[in-house]
């Protein structure tokens, strides 16, 4: 078990290093000098040089990578080229919107998909199964941002149950904040739930064909008992993989959905940074997103081991 843990941990560290190098290199090839861009083409050469020194742009590439990567380890993401404020602070403010949104959506999607997938698998070929499968077929075809617009049209504009966008901040109160994130979370969650439901269903159907389900039935378990006691836990392994992958899509999707609801999250930050060529912000936000995805996959790996004793033993 410890071996498995350390192996995964090593792999996590390696992925983070390689990812950071890739991001740094891609941003490095960007044409143009941030200092010149910030000060305008007409700036005095010595002012530009001074700014370059201030931003650390005069150092070697390796030294800059090391100070960027090392800074991130200590929570120092550098200074925004545009706003001259610490990037870490800018990200932290926005993270309080984006992260809760992603987690909210993941929770919703899981809460919908597990029962729906199990329900459909238990009634394979029946009308309940057909209804669920049909709904998921539609669900995977809907672009989440368009779905978000339709939700706004119905629930905000026509019914006025929710506001059409914006975020009051958590200071106003937890429930007010949660309410503002509800429509965005639903828009994100439903298409993902459709995928997850399909995975849950097909994974469970695979397991139900296994010999040990027949053994369980021979012991006197009803079909439903066999499904719950022996099917679900074994079916979870592929489902967890997809949940891990989906988190990446939820984070990315959150960035798009934020545009629909005018939420002050990472999405708005990054699109602003792109138009203003504030590359250090882009670099840091992207690194943060990638870090989150790699971290979630690490946790998924640990969850596998908790579910499957064979994995604990093998490595």
């Amino acid at each position: 078990m410890m071996r498995y843990f350390f192996k995964r941990l090593f792999s996590l560290g390696l992925s983070l290093i390689v990812a950071s190098v890739v991001i740094f290199v891609v941003v490095e090839v960007a044409p143009g000098d941030p200092a010149t861009f910030m000060l305008g083409i007409n700036a005095q050469p010595d002012t530009v040089a001074a700014l370059r020194t201030e931003l650390g742009l005069d150092q070697s590439k390796l030294a800059r990578y090391l100070s960027w990567a090392g800074g991130m380890l200590t929570g120092d993401f550098g200074m925004s080229y545009t706003y001259r404020t610490p990037v870490a602070q800018m990200i932290a403010d926005r993270l309080w919107v984006s992260l809760p949104l992603a987690i909210y959506a993941l929770t919703l999607s899981t809460l919908i998909a597990f029962p729906a997938g199990i329900f459909a698998a238990a009634r394979r070929g029946g009308s309940g199964d057909l209804a669920v499968t049909g709904a998921t077929q539609l669900g995977v075809a809907i672009p989440n941002f368009w779905f978000a617009m339709m939700l706004v049209l119905i629930f905000a504009i026509n019914l006025s149950w929710f506001s059409a966008g914006g975020f009051p901040g958590w200071d106003v109160g937890f429930w007010a904040g949660l309410k503002a994130l509800t429509l965005p979370a639903i828009a994100l969650a439903l298409p993902q739930a459709a995928i997850l439901t399909r995975v849950m269903r097909s994974s469970l159907l695979d397991i139900l064909n296994e010999d040990f389900i027949r053994t369980a039935r021979a012991k006197g378990l009803s079909a439903r008992q066999a499904l719950w006691r022996h099917g679900v836990r074994n079916a979870l392994i592929p489902v967890l993989t997809i949940i891990g992958l989906q988190f990446a899509f939820l984070l990315a999707g959150a960035i798009i959905i934020e545009q629909v609801f005018f939420l002050p999250g990472l999405g708005r930050l990054i699109f602003q940074a792109i138009t203003q060529r504030d590359l250090i912000v882009v670099e840091s936000v992207v690194m943060l997103l990638v870090f989150a995805v790699i971290m979630v996959n690490f946790l998924v790996d640990l969850a596998y081991a908790a579910i499957d004793p064979r994995l604990r033993a093998r490595t």
Partner: protein, 271 residues
């Protein structure tokens, strides 16, 4: 022929046809603005209505189909062209260093969703349809590599592959002669699914301005433009959205139908 296959094939065919037709004919010009005639609901003059510049929505959708299909198709091509050989190579050296390196690279790419790649490229080179193609295509590589490897690994343990090895054939030749033809079905089905995911991703990217730039029409940007008009004229948002849903649904049904027709046990992944 199953119902899925017919319905999916018909829908997909319809969109392909519309895209091809748009090269020579559209009901109206997509460049001609007609402000007095803006935001018209669907009707006799403009079959699907007009947008906020008074352009014919049907014509815009037809030309937009071109962008969506081209981006998604090339992205699938990139994914297959690089992913399949990598997957075959990894499986041929199961457990070896090459396999390990390829799979770790795959894991790494999985940590960069298309949107993140697009953000990075756009930040550096500025937005374009090419960015969207690269971003979606790169993300397709590990998808194809992984399913190819998975299917190939189980084929490598089969006796007919052992027989070919006893016959002295090289791993490369066995991969081409015995492995690839037997994973072809899986690849066909998976590529329809990646095609549909590509359409969705392209729409998302052009919605946030990271895809095709004006004046090239695209479905995602039509929706972005429609966003502020949604209360005023719901059809400008409704119709392009439903178009995307229909296209993606058609491809998915086609994929399911192909799978049922070729081999119902195929293990396709969808993320």
């Amino acid at each position: 022929m199953s119902r899925n296959l017919i319905l999916g094939g018909a829908l997909t065919g319809l969109f392909l046809l519309a895209a091809i037709l748009s090269f020579t004919w559209t009901p109206d010009s997509v460049e001609a603005m007609d402000i007095p005639n803006r935001l018209q609901p669907p009707g006799a003059g403009n079959l699907l209505g007009t947008d906020h510049f008074g352009r014919d929505i049907l014509s815009m959708l037809m030309v937009g189909a071109r962008t969506s299909i081209a981006v998604a198709l090339v992205a699938v091509g990139i994914g297959m062209g690089l992913g399949v050989p990598l997957g075959l190579a990894a499986a041929a050296r199961d457990g070896g260093l090459l396999d390990e390196v390829i799979m770790r690279m795959n894991d790494l790419i999985f940590a960069f969703p298309s949107l993140v790649i697009a953000i990075l490229i756009t930040a550096v080179f500025g937005p374009s349809a090419t960015n969207a193609i690269i971003a979606i295509g790169v993300f397709n590589i590990p998808v194809f590599a992984r399913i190819t490897r998975g299917a190939a690994l189980s084929l490598w343990t089969r006796d007919f592959v052992l027989a070919a090895r006893v016959a002295g054939k090289s791993r490369t030749r066995i991969s081409a002669e015995h492995i690839l033809p037997n994973v072809a079905n899986l690849l066909i089905v998976q590529s329809t699914i990646q095609f549909s995911l590509g359409i969705l991703a392209e729409a998302g990217l052009s919605y946030v301005g990271l895809g095709a730039q004006p004046p090239i029409p695209s479905w995602g940007r039509m929706l972005a433009d429609a966003q502020t008009m949604v209360a005023l004229a719901p059809h400008v948002a409704l119709i392009p959205g439903l178009t995307i849903v229909a296209m993606v649904l058609g491809l998915n049904l086609l994929g399911d139908g192909l799978r049922d027709a070729l081999d119902p046990r195929l293990k396709v992944v969808r993320t």
